[in-house]
Symmetry: C2
């Protein structure tokens, strides 16, 4: 490969100040884990069963069919190869699926975990074995066409009929139709249905029910079941997100998943012990989104950075050759803050995973004291990281000029398949306000003299105060952490004061909360950003870090913190914590840092270790041979199967000939 490498990329790699393999080891947890990752990726990437035409060349139906076929092969092979470890599965499936998924992913991510978590042993015996062995395929049906965020507002009903010992399932209104569950449209024959339990006219809230929706014989919808695909979307073409309407569908009493609550034969309702247990799963899911947000951003930055070294444009100096686009400081300003953010969130995701793992045994034992803080932290960080990745991916696409707009860049598909992370599993504002609620509670406790712990400890500490006339070194990570801490603490305090003042002015709590919500958002965002900055800085205190690695990661950390600071400079200036001179100093440091990072940029994206098969981008190819492969790819696309498209005979020829005849 090296012999054919684009000379510009070759030069970039030769001039890096560090060996990217060292950072790759750091990012993936050491040489052994990295070796295993690469082994699994090679296994998948070299498997002929996973090769196919570019999905971008296919209709949606073809994409669904291709990914269904591939998903089945992937499941079969993982079983054969005994790939069972979480990370092993992660690396293998990522390499199989590239930036796409497959129609049965919700079976794995939600259907099986719900059965494991909510079914009794007897129920597991009946269904879990079938499900784990793919004798049935299922999904998780919660969201309705008119109801998402607010689970208590779901309209689907499960009415207990003591005479027949059955539940009668209905979607009584149009807005009650289940909507969105992945794999429900065409693939699944079972669902876990979330429905309002009614016994003798009384509602007992939302519970899970096991429901067969399609025949095991011919896959046709069961009586009373209307099911189908919800139609094409921005991305996720491969996925048959489905709708489901139910008309008096009867299921046995046994089909309520009843590990935690159940209905007795006489209609007595036995309620669950605690409702907080599921929070643990939510924390894990959100930590996973922080991680995947960092990774999609890392992929986008890899593509844009490599391409910006291959692409040459304009004349910086008269008579000189066209410079590499990355030599323009404005291009660095588009890409390097995103590069730094990818690293920052990568480390944040790792920390969250490790905090979760440390707490999970505690939680499983029933000690849920850490959950509120963990839950609040994970909400804000999920919201922050997914939004940041969303914006960053588009910045990277736009930084690739026209070619970024082509599917050959891989960036449009990466974006459309990743942007749901900003909405699913908790919408951005909803989650930030969950964090804010915890911050308000913590602030009140600290005012009352309680000592806070964990990520909110700083709220009860003495915040750094502005020192008039003092010159700060804005490159100092301690100074930067202090500034972020001060800003978060101030914004939390001011939001709390605003909330109180709204109530003092006569608003009830709900209206006061609503009136303050933009300030609360701001406070929760500042809190989350402070966590990311501090976490990055703390990871750099690892004394085992190689000095060349330490140097370059420190620059990234400084850039991340300084870029966030100048972008939100008003927050730091508003109470005179920082001065205009500090901000000006920060801006100059950013320029200097970018100049220092410039020769290391390619090595820093190489360190993310995305092989071409996963990156799936002609612009981001490791060898940099962009233009020839763009042309080759275009020639293979469907409109070029014939030189003259059939529409010429049908429409264009008669039109042109008639017009010619008239002249």
């Amino acid at each position: 490969m090296a012999t054919r490498m684009n000379p510009d990329l070759k030069k970039e790699r030769e001039s890096a100040s560090f060996d990217p393999e060292k950072i790759t080891n750091f990012l993936y947890g050491g040489p052994e884990k990295l070796r295993r990752k690469r082994e699994l990726e090679s296994l998948a990437l070299n498997d002929p069963d996973f090769q196919h035409e570019d999905l971008n060349f296919m209709s949606r139906e073809q994409q669904y069919e291709t990914q269904l076929k591939k998903g089945i092969a992937m499941i079969t092979k993982m079983k054969e190869l005994n790939i069972t470890d979480f990370w092993d599965q992660y690396y293998y499936t990522t390499a199989v699926l590239v930036s796409d998924g497959y129609p049965m992913s919700v079976h794995e991510r939600m259907f099986l975990p719900t059965l494991r978590g909510q079914a009794t042993e007897q129920q597991k015996e009946k269904w879990l074995k079938m499900a784990e062995n793919y004798a049935i395929v299922g999904t998780y049906a919660q969201t309705e066409i008119g109801h998402g965020t607010f689970v208590r507002g779901l309209e689907t009903t499960a009415t207990f009929d003591p005479k027949t010992q059955e539940f009668i399932l209905n979607t009584p209104t149009l807005s009650a139709s289940k909507w969105w569950p992945g794999g429900m449209g065409k693939t699944s024959n079972y669902v876990v249905l979330m429905a309002q339990l009614y016994i003798r006219g009384k509602s007992y809230g939302v519970h899970p029910f096991m429901l067969q929706i399609r025949s095991l014989e011919d896959h046709k919808p069961m009586p009373g079941v209307t099911v189908g695909d919800i139609g094409p979307k921005f991305g996720y073409d491969f996925m048959d997100n489905g709708f489901l309407a139910l008309n008096n569908v009867r299921i046995p009493r046994e089909n309520m998943l009843k590990k935690y609550s159940r209905v007795e034969p006489d209609g007595t309702y036995v309620k669950p012990p605690s409702t907080k247990l599921t929070y643990g799963t939510m924390v894990l899911v959100r930590a996973g989104i922080v991680m995947s947000s960092s990774r999609v951003l890392a992929r986008a930055v890899t593509i844009a950075t490599r391409y910006s070294c291959v692409r040459r444009q304009s004349e910086m100096k008269p008579g000189h050759p066209e410079p590499q686009v990355l030599d323009y400081v404005t291009q660095q300003y588009k890409l390097f803050p995103n590069l730094a953010a990818a690293y920052a969130f990568w480390l944040t995701g790792q920390t969250m995973m490790s905090v979760y793992n440390k707490s999970s045994s505690q939680i499983e034992k029933g000690d849920i004291s850490v959950l509120p803080e963990l839950h609040a932290l994970s909400a804000g960080l999920k919201a922050l990281s997914s939004a940041r990745a969303d914006v960053g991916m588009e910045e990277c696409r736009l930084a690739c000029g026209g070619h970024g707009y082509s599917h050959a860049s891989g960036l449009p598909r990466l974006y459309t398949n990743s942007t749901p992370a900003a909405t699913a599993e908790g919408e951005h504002v909803v989650l930030m306000l969950q964090t804010a609620r915890y911050l308000m509670k913590s602030y009140t406790q600290s005012v009352q003299g309680e000592k806070l712990a964990g990520s909110v400890a700083y709220l009860s500490g003495v915040q750094p105060v502005p020192v008039a006339g003092r010159t700060r070194n804005m490159l100092d990570l301690g100074v930067l952490c202090d500034a972020y801490e001060h800003r978060a603490a101030r914004l939390v305090r001011e939001a709390a004061e605003q909330l109180r003042s709204e109530m003092q002015a006569g608003k009830d709590q709900a209206d006061a909360w609503n009136a303050t919500s933009v300030d609360l958002l701001k406070a929760a965002t500042a809190h989350s950003q402070y966590f990311v900055v501090r976490n990055f800085a703390e990871r750099l205190t690892d004394t085992t870090l190689d000095s060349s690695v330490f140097a370059v990661l420190t620059r990234l950390c400084q850039l991340y913190a300084l870029h966030g600071l100048v972008t939100n400079s008003g927050d730091f200036l508003e109470d005179d914590y920082l001065t205009g001179a500090d901000i000006r100093q920060a801006r100059r440091h950013i320029n200097t840092l970018m100049a220092k990072l410039r020769p290391d940029a390619v090595a820093l994206v190489d360190a993310f270790d995305y092989p071409d098969g996963i990156l799936n981008s002609i612009l981001g190819r490791y060898d940099g041979n962009v233009y020839e492969h763009l042309l080759e790819w275009a020639k293979a696309s469907p409109l070029n199967i014939t030189d003259v498209h059939q529409s010429y005979q049908k429409y264009l020829k008669p039109f042109l000939q008639a017009n010619r005849a008239k002249l």
Copy 2:
């Protein structure tokens, strides 16, 4: 329609403080123009020849074919109906094409104008008549696979051969292949080719040549011509953007478009009188992009605002019904600044069009003194408005939650078809730096005592200075304009000083410019934003405005200015021009303004006057009957043609049955 209207939307419309028709008149230039707009829209929307299945249900090839067919019908009908006025054509074609285009649009937008502008009378006689009557169909081939922004870097060559009196056309390298021209892949049989003119080994720069690329008999590529489609993209599925490689293709000397420069039979080159004339066209194109940016943003805001009144979610107060999503202040904060921006850029586009029209006769007479300022202004405003629309459309999509991600919302397609505006006709940074270059020149002139005019006059004036301790009324549009003026002037001055200081430190001009470019971007952005704010405020001084309209437009103008101010508060605080108290006051005003705008939100988007047929969004339907139409749309989508998809027999059934057998 009114009898079936969603009751929430009905209530919204009944409670508005003004008659939306009055604003519609204001936006479209009076009742007569509005009547004509609606007439043309109805004509297109009710024409059975333009009806077809949702493009989102089609493969790319089907979309190309559908839009080709529709485009031909549209051209034919416009001729029959004698629709020739610019705005008449705009409204008619918008209604035919919705948020898409057709493969021959570059023939209209570039091929014909280039022939009109660059061909001699004799050449017009030969080609223009054929082109205007669609006896031939053409496109404009400039961009190459390796060259976009930098026109002088184009590699395609036209070498004069005096022996045969021909030009020999070549794309000598891979990176010289023409790439991107719309309609070139499959549709066009002619192109205007931009190529480097060589005479006797000497280069004379880029010139236009008329080249036939496909046979008029069978549409096959001409000898030496390789042509095809560049493959699928983020959007623009209907368009056959093409590539073109040329291998010793010979064209007669007469095929150089030679109104301005030509090659004599003996090889003598006659150079053009001035190169600045084409700037006028660029200004017009950019003004058009400002206008269309405001309109796509208006469409996105219309969709999201109406849907936010239909959608109900969560429990704001225990026991109360779920509120309309737009009652959440956070939702208002997502949408209302975009609503205000759509109005702000709508008015900016109008002003630019009118300034251009006022100057164009002057320019046509050869007086190009206004061009530098107009050019600089149009560059920055095009960059600002297209970037703002890009971000705003995605904010609107995300504000619609899950349903925003469905193609039923119309938002993904609106975005993918509109986002090229941020890159095409001058990339964002490139254009902002053109504006910055003019600002630096103007600043130098003002320092030297020259009096500046037009949009940069403020740079030579006395800027408002901060008054310590004074309390400002941050709702006062005069105060806000002053603040934006001060910020722009300060950032221009600081960028100029930074540029000078980089040069004093030893950098040559190019390196100093590059090192200062982030500051220059910031200055050009602030300058452009100031223009938008001031223009909005000035339009409100129109004394013929109805008082209810004046009141609500004033709120929008205040919101636009205040939102930009708090979002960039550091710029106003950095030199103590504003105080922390001013910013806090601004934030509170935003909340108050949003509360006042809340009851008028639906009327304000209704006033944009987008009929359902053009809005093309189920979420944004005028009648608000969202859920039933979502379901109906989904049921019509291709994956639902059969209850059981064919892939079940092929892949899923054998898999599930084998697994069942093993249990």
